[in-house]
């Protein structure tokens, strides 16, 4: 029993020494917020783009909205063209090459 109490006193002294070493050097009102910051967010995006098409060869000129990834063949088909005009690959994805900035948005502008 005596040994046990002596061990307990030694343990208490050790804890007090650790507490003194850890706390006394910088006595400041402790922070309460966690230091670790976690950043995460998710936003929806409009997976579409607009095409303005004009010209004599176009049956239905005007402004169209297509989903990203549509091919030239599919686009011209929607516009009422019977075949893909020269200079365009029907199987290729529509690119922004002919786009112009209109009201803060890049819109593909085609004159066929």
């Amino acid at each position: 029993m005596r040994e046990f109490i002596a061990d307990l006193l030694l343990l208490a002294c050790l804890i007090m020494v650790v507490a003194a070493a850890a706390i006394l050097p910088s006595v400041a009102v402790p922070e309460s917020e966690a230091v670790y910051q976690r950043g995460e967010s998710a936003i929806p995006y409009g997976d579409t783009f607009d095409v303005i098409v004009q010209g004599e060869g176009v049956a239905a000129p005007g402004r169209y909205t297509f989903a990203y990834g549509v091919t030239y063949g599919e686009m011209f088909s929607v516009m009422g063209l019977s075949e893909v005009p020269d200079g365009f690959d029907g199987a290729a994805r529509v690119r922004m090459t002919d786009a112009v900035l209109l009201d803060g948005e890049y819109v593909i502008y085609l004159v066929l």
Partner: protein
């Protein structure tokens, strides 16, 4: 008769007869290990959860109930020990949390200043980087040029002086003015441990001729000795060998050539420049030898060796590795002096607890983590591995010991190295096995030579001749070889490191489970570990992703589409930052480099990128006035839309790039000036500029590279990962 036989059978029952484990218990209780882990856990949980960390005590408190069970079943003394240790663990956990919270609060209380300031302070430390001198000023007075606010603080300022020739000395009181920036507690996704530990709250850049001397204070004794040692070493050796010697003796590698130091890092042997167990152990041996030769009494010997080691650790600025090694050495000496059995695991626990008590922020210091993981790894795993290796027929004992030590240190430092530096050397194990025994001998000769040279500086050239010669031969293979090709990189551990260390401890001989129990548990643990690592590191399930990286002006985006990697540079990247990111991301080739910035930014960016990866092609804005002088890389000046590895891009203005990220509109801005035309709207804005001209840009989400209060930034969260899938852009921290 039958009853007596049964009694005899019970009395002589085998001790190791349990189904699951050998011996009397599963693990030998080590109280100091429990205390050190509790203290560290308190720091870590507060770091993650803030004040809610104290709720963990509610989880531990039910364990007190266990003592009642033990009290009834096993006896009062064991119950009492159980209760005492549980209470001690709770208390130490709480002390760790409180101490950490107070350190952070103390650091943040020191006044925040920015902009042009009048600075007065005392030179407390002198160092060097690759191209500048570094002076650390203490006893600081700052006067803000804008507000006139006066800040007097015991925190320090680090002054980087380019051009050389400032010639400031330790203890000199100086006056200057410079553009001062305040270190934050948290930046770029991690705690600023080195700034908090060094008590450096501010930094500034200056010219050599901008200082006025205003008196001389008595410098720090350890600093004076360190400076004298440096002068003597550089006077007696050629500069490159002197820099190596000074780094090995004091842990200050600031005078070494950066490329040389980096090659040591790539080889996995840069730890010889961190004063730790190897150095302290050799110095202890030398001092003990001298004391024995002088036939000093045991107590006097103990005091002299202690004083010598403490003084040496002071000259090494009491770095965490030197303090850890010092305490372990002292515990061992004290145990020897007292005639008590020395337990190494308890010893490293005491040392770790002492270092964390001195400053809890050490838990986030790479030096401390490497030091403790290596030494604890050698203690926990080294002996077990060595004993198993000795069973191999014809295996020499010394080779088995060396192999066991090298492998265990390698295994246990693996997660820390990968997460801190982004790579680990595959050849490190072999180099450490061959190189460290040689360098240990050379270090002993160096130490003796340098101590004598410090006492007799007039004879330094003679006294340092042999040590210089030996050191040059010893490091020649490391200096000449290129170890970069041996690097393993491209993934990180994060929280899975805890599982890694738990597995190592479980498999060591410190846990007495039977082999079949360990085998089954290892398989299960490995499966869980591999699964978690895969989830952490594989960025799957996204149609395309990009990573945003920044570090004090070195800003760039890596766009991954299919197999191609496009790098979009905003301004000028920093070579070290780039190298680290490329290693972490496993980038060796850039299919296209898009320079968003001025012509001069593009001219600087390409060579920096080429130092770290091959570049197929570079795109620059035709209106920037870029002059193509690069022969090895195809450069295209573009106007309007261009196809960059399947992605449509356009320079919306001088230092602005718009791109279509699989249907999502992304705008990257390096800088905006008043004359800008209308800019397109976007789903995501990524900007190095955070000024008023950005207000007219419509966007759904914004990410900034620099500090931007209340907004998502790389400065706040570290490198970011952006993935797109099913019409959603997800932004989270990069691993």
């Amino acid at each position: 008769m039958k009853r007596k036989k049964e009694e005899r059978a019970v009395r002589f029952k085998r001790v190791d007869d349990h189904l699951l484990f050998y011996g009397l218990r599963v693990v030998n209780f080590r109280p100091f290990l429990l205390f050190a882990l509790s203290f560290a856990a308190g720091i870590l949980v507060f770091y993650l959860c803030g004040v809610y960390a104290f709720l963990v005590n509610l989880v531990i408190l039910p364990a007190f109930v266990g003592f009642i069970f033990i009290f009834r079943k096993k006896g009062r003394r064991i119950a009492g020990i159980f209760l005492a240790c549980t209470a001690a663990a709770c208390v130490l956990f709480s002390i760790g949390s409180i101490a950490f919270a107070m350190r952070i609060a103390d650091f943040e209380q020191a006044g925040e200043v920015s902009g042009d300031c009048y600075i007065a302070g005392v030179v407390e430390e002198i160092g060097r980087t690759g191209d500048s001198e570094v002076y650390t000023l203490g006893d600081l007075t700052l006067v803000s040029g804008e507000t006139g606010e006066i800040v007097r603080t015991q925190y320090r300022l680090r002054m980087y002086v380019y051009g050389g020739g400032a010639d400031l000395s330790l203890g000199m009181r100086v006056i200057t003015d410079a553009d001062v920036t305040t270190y934050e507690t948290w930046s770029y996704g991690r705690i600023n441990a080195s700034a908090i530990l060094d008590k450096v709250r501010y930094f500034a850049f200056s010219q050599a001729d901008s200082f006025l001397a205003d008196g001389q204070e008595m410098p720090d004794l350890f600093g004076v000795v360190g400076e004298h040692l440096r002068d003597v070493i550089f006077a007696g050796m050629d500069d490159s060998t002197a820099a190596l010697t000074y780094a090995m003796l004091t842990g200050n590698s600031g005078f070494m050539d950066e490329d040389v130091l980096q090659n040591f890092r790539y080889g996995g042997v840069a730890h010889i420049f961190a004063v730790s167990g190897l150095h302290i152990g050799i110095v202890c041996l030398l001092l003990t030898y001298v004391c024995k030769k002088l036939k000093l009494k045991l107590l006097i010997r103990f005091l002299i060796v202690t004083a010598g080691l403490v003084f040496y650790a002071g000259v090494c600025s009491f770095s965490p590795s030197s303090v850890r090694a010092l305490i372990m050495c002292e515990v061992m000496l004290a145990m020897k002096y007292k005639g008590v059995q020395y337990d190494r695991l308890n010893s490293v626990s005491i040392a770790s607890l002492a270092v964390l008590a001195i400053n809890p922020v050490h838990l986030f210091s790479v030096g401390f983590l490497l030091s403790v993981s290596a030494s604890a790894g050698i203690i926990v795993l080294g002996g077990h591995l060595s004993r198993n290796l000795k069973r191999i027929p014809y295996m020499p004992r010394r080779v088995a010991d060396a192999l066991g030590t090298a492998v265990s240190a390698q295994i246990c430092t693996f997660p820390v190295l990968i997460d801190s530096f982004g790579y680990i050397s595959a050849i490190s194990f072999v180099l450490n096995l061959l190189f460290i025994p040689i360098i240990s001998t050379v270090y002993a000769v160096l130490f003796v030579g340098c101590v004598l040279a410090a006492i007799f500086p007039f004879a330094s050239a003679v006294l340092l001749f042999l040590p210089e010669y030996l050191l040059r031969i010893a490091v020649l293979p490391v200096m000449m070889a290129d170890f970069k090709i041996w690097l393993i990189s491209g993934f990180s551990f994060g929280g899975c490191a805890l599982l890694w260390y738990a597995g190592i401890y479980f498999l060591s001989d410190k846990i007495n489970f039977r082999a079949w129990v360990k085998a089954i548990a290892s398989v299960l643990l490995s499966a869980v570990f591999v699964g978690l690592m895969f989830l952490r590191n594989a960025f799957f399930g996204y149609d395309g992703f990009m990573t945003v990286h920044g570090y004090y002006g070195s800003n760039f985006v890596l766009l991954h589409e299919g197999d191609s990697v496009v790098m979009i540079c905003l301004g000028t990247p920093d070579s070290e930052h780039l190298e680290k990111v490329f290693l972490q991301q496993n980038v060796t080739r850039i299919d296209a480099l898009v320079a968003v910035g001025t012509a001069s930014d593009a001219n600087v960016a390409l060579p920096v990128v080429l130092e770290n990866a091959a570049v197929e092609k570079m795109y620059v804005n035709a209106e920037s006035g870029f002059i193509d002088t690069f022969q090895t890389v195809e450069t295209e000046e573009v106007r309007g839309f261009f196809d960059c590895c399947g992605t449509d891009m356009i320079f919306a203005d001088a230092e602005t790039l718009w791109l279509n990220f699989g249907g999502a509109d992304v705008l990257l801005v390096n800088n905006l000036t008043e004359e800008e035309k209308n800019l397109p709207s976007c789903d995501l804005l990524v900007s190095a500029y955070d000024g008023e001209f950005l207000e007219r840009v419509e966007r759904k989400q914004e990410i900034y590279f620099g500090k931007a209060d209340g907004k998502m930034s790389v400065y706040e969260y570290g490198d970011l990962q952006i993935g797109r899938r099913d019409g959603i852009i997800s932004v989270k921290e990069a691993v």
